[in-house]
């Protein structure tokens, strides 16, 4: 057990290293890339000025531009007057921020800065959106398991039969349609009057949900919520279900041919017990291991499905922040994304160590 503990300590120690590498890289990219926030502010201000007909400043080159003081102010606001490493360290919170009386205020202190767009702390923004994404992701993943395991088992036990072949067609068709495209198709079919208008055309809840909730109309609220969730959840299920079904099937097929299954039969155990206890228990190992990795992937899927179904979660927030160049929010989402992935990987190792007594990480 000692080797295992130090293995996990080692994995945990890798998190900060990974974290710093990735965030620094992205921070650098953002700082180096053209079209940064100053450019944006410049165009916006200029447009506003032209419309307002206000006095125009003239830059040294004689072109229309912002006054130098304004640019400097903006630079300070966006910390662009710092070199990239220092700016990064300030963001991280291990370098004193001169503009705020030399305080250490950064990610390490739990301060992700202010959102340019919402003018509120980034953390508040993210925390308000996070539960929505997680709810969808988890329900979707759970639904995937509920569909895939029985289907995979049935397919393995009827390998090369009529049922297996037909369901394979469906499974592979599911694999060929990305989750968000499936959502889009479903929205088209069941959100508009094209086929059958039964589900709302996107959105997280109806607009009057909060009023109804306050009015105590509990069942209506639940129904409305469920109503909105059906299509996105199907999208999440579509994203992973083919892989998981086939993984389940192949894993069980492999185990059914294993020597220990023969031993179990030779002991006179019933077929049910051998398949559903001995073989299945072993075939579940790769599936359990996928849990941790799936958590990281949910994050990636949420961009597309939340955009398609217009769900105000992390993914849509990230998308909008990208469009609006809201860098503090982007960095905040990146931090969450990276941490979830890293923790997911470790979770996979932990689960593997729990379900497979043979595994000893060294």
């Amino acid at each position: 057990m000692h080797g295992m503990t130090s293995y996990f300590i080692r994995r945990m120690l890798l998190i900060p290293v990974t974290f710093v590498c990735i965030t620094f890289m992205v921070y650098g990219i953002m700082r180096l890339a053209p079209g940064g926030p100053i450019e944006q502010a410049r165009t916006q201000l200029l447009m506003a000025m032209q419309e307002g007909g206000g006095s125009l400043a003239t830059s040294a080159t004689g072109e229309l531009d912002l006054p130098q003081e304004a640019i400097d102010q903006l630079k300070v606001y966006y910390k662009l007057h710092r070199s990239i490493p220092v700016g990064y360290l300030i963001w991280l919170g291990v370098w004193p921020d001169d503009d705020r009386q030399g305080e250490f205020k950064g990610v390490v202190q739990g301060d992700f800065g202010m959102s340019y767009r919402y003018s509120e702390p980034v953390l508040t923004t993210i925390v308000s959106k996070f539960p929505i994404s997680i709810t969808f992701g988890l329900i979707g993943y759970l639904a995937t398991w509920i569909v895939c395991i029985p289907l995979g088992v049935k397919k393995a036990l009827t390998h090369r039969s009529w049922f297996d072949t037909t369901s394979s067609l469906v499974v592979f068709l599911g694999y060929s349609i990305p989750g968000f495209v499936a959502c889009l198709a479903l929205l088209l079919m069941f959100g508009t009057s094209l086929v059958w208008d039964i589900f709302p055309l996107g959105g997280f809840r109806s607009e009057n949900w909060n009023e109804m909730w306050e009015a105590g109309n509990f069942w209506w609220c639940v129904k409305d919520q469920a109503h909105h969730m059906v299509i996105p959840i199907i999208g999440y299920v579509m994203s992973g279900f083919a892989t998981m079904t086939i993984l389940m099937k192949n894993s069980l097929l492999d185990n059914l041919g294993a020597d220990y299954v023969r031993t179990a039969f030779a002991k006179g155990l019933s077929e049910r017990r051998v398949i559903f206890l001995h073989a299945l228990r072993n075939s579940m190992i790769p599936l359990c291991v996928s849990i941790g990795h799936a958590i990281g992937l949910l994050f990636a899927g949420s961009f597309l499905i939340e955009k398609t179904c217009n769900i105000p979660g992390m993914g849509l927030l990230g998308f909008n922040s990208l469009v609006e160049r809201d860098y503090p929010v982007l960095m905040g989402i990146l931090v969450f994304g990276v941490l979830i992935r890293l923790l997911g990987n470790i979770l996979s190792d932990v689960i593997l160590a729990l379900v497979d007594p043979r595994v000893r990480f060294e």
């Binding site: 890798l14 290293v17 990974t18 590498c21 990735i22 890289m25 992205v26 990219i29 953002m30 890339a33 053209p34 079209g35 940064g36 393995a156 390998h159 090369r160 394979s168 592979f172 068709l173 694999y175 060929s176 349609i177 990305p178 968000f180 495209v181 889009l184 198709a185 929205l187 088209l188 959100g191 508009t192 094209l194 055309l201 192949n250 097929l253 492999d254 059914l256 041919g257 299954v261 023969r262 039969f265 077929e271 051998v274 990281g296 994050f299 990636a300 961009f303 597309l304 955009k307 990230g318 998308f319 990208l322 469009v323 160049r325 989402i333 990146l334 994304g337 990276v338 992935r341 990987n345």
Partner: protein, 466 residues
Amino acid sequence: MHIVIKLLELLVVLLLGTLLTTRGIPWLLARCLNAVGISTSFSPVTEKRIRRFKAIRRGYWSFLLITVLFVTSFFLELTVNSKALRISYDGKTAYPAVMEWVDLFWVLGDISSFCKKSDFGQVGDSEVDYRQFARYVAEPSLVRSELEKSKSDLDAERSAYLAKNPEPGAGASQYQMRRHQRQMEKFAKRREGLATLEKNAAVFEQGRVSCWMPVYPVGPSDLRYDLPSNPPNRPSLEQGAPFGTDLSGRDVVPQMLYGFRISIAFALVVSGLGYVFGILVGGVQGYYGGWIDIFTQRFVEIWGSIPFLFTIMIIASMVQPSFWMLTLLMVVLTSWLGITYYVRAEFYREKAKDYVQAAIGSGVSDWRIITRHILPNALVPVVTFAPFGIVAYIGSLVSLDFLGFGLPPGTPSWGALLRQGLENVKFYPHLTVIPTVALAATLYTVVTIGEAVREAFDPKVFSRLR
């Protein structure tokens, strides 16, 4: 009747594509490889697998279908394009579509300048309006009637002008005189122009022109001004737009076809380069092991924790990525990673086998052991993932385009169509339906290949005890 001819043309194109794919390219490849000195014969193990793959009908036919379509799509400039394949006018001949096609492989410069309007009986210096030209070729009387119409228009305009501004008399000012003169010169010039046009009309009437248009004479970036309503247009066979147009009025048919080529090419290049890097890194890790392996493995782990889609989106939001930049980003950020794991494991496994030990024990060099002994054996399990990788990369490209962080706007792309579909899901379902069906069909075909390859390389034995 018109549609029947089009379908026949399409059939001929596909037939040629099939011949090229199944006969021409393999022959050429074998020729090239033999010339370089690489033997094209497979070991019996591989041959058996190929036989088994061919025996899986569904997968084999899917493979043929997708390769034929992909190879044929490399001639899209010659089949689906608004430029003429061959255009000749009074002894002058040009091959604009062929030029564009050559430009695909060998950049020729500004191809539109090769075919100026003025050289082909049209007025102006820009590129020939081939569709108009073709219309005239088909119906030379049209030229005359339009010419007559222009003539009468000019005459009418002139007389109207004269009626309003009679010839200035002696008392007219210098200024008035000059203005009138200038106007008259203008009319005369137009008259002259019409005279040249008359000559053109004669050329058309005498049949000294020809224009071969491609099978579908609309390119991916051409706006369909010829359709009656405002874009987007719904699909309509009568109007000659079987898939309709998108929001800006570009025809969906060429967008789908060119989008197919881009998607598959993107996925192939991404996975190909990913394989090269992945095999290189994984091979070194697995073969040398030790600290090289540990450090590289840590790096791969860290690198793999980057949310790649998000990172590409961030980069794409700042710098508009080109096809090659997007490809490289995909390779660097994700596609090589997965392969290293497998190649590394395979190298570890193969290296422990006695045949490698025997080679080392005979004094064979590392390079030869890696390339000649281990790689061919380690590659097999990795190759079986290739089709699934292609599915994933097509999906990534479509996703990025869908979110608007993919290829530059104007590039024919399924994802961009889907985005337009989402924006107009209520009123223009064809913008969702067509790309969805195309995407699903393409990916399904690739998945079928993948499943057949997996089955051929690693048949799952099923045996049951009771």
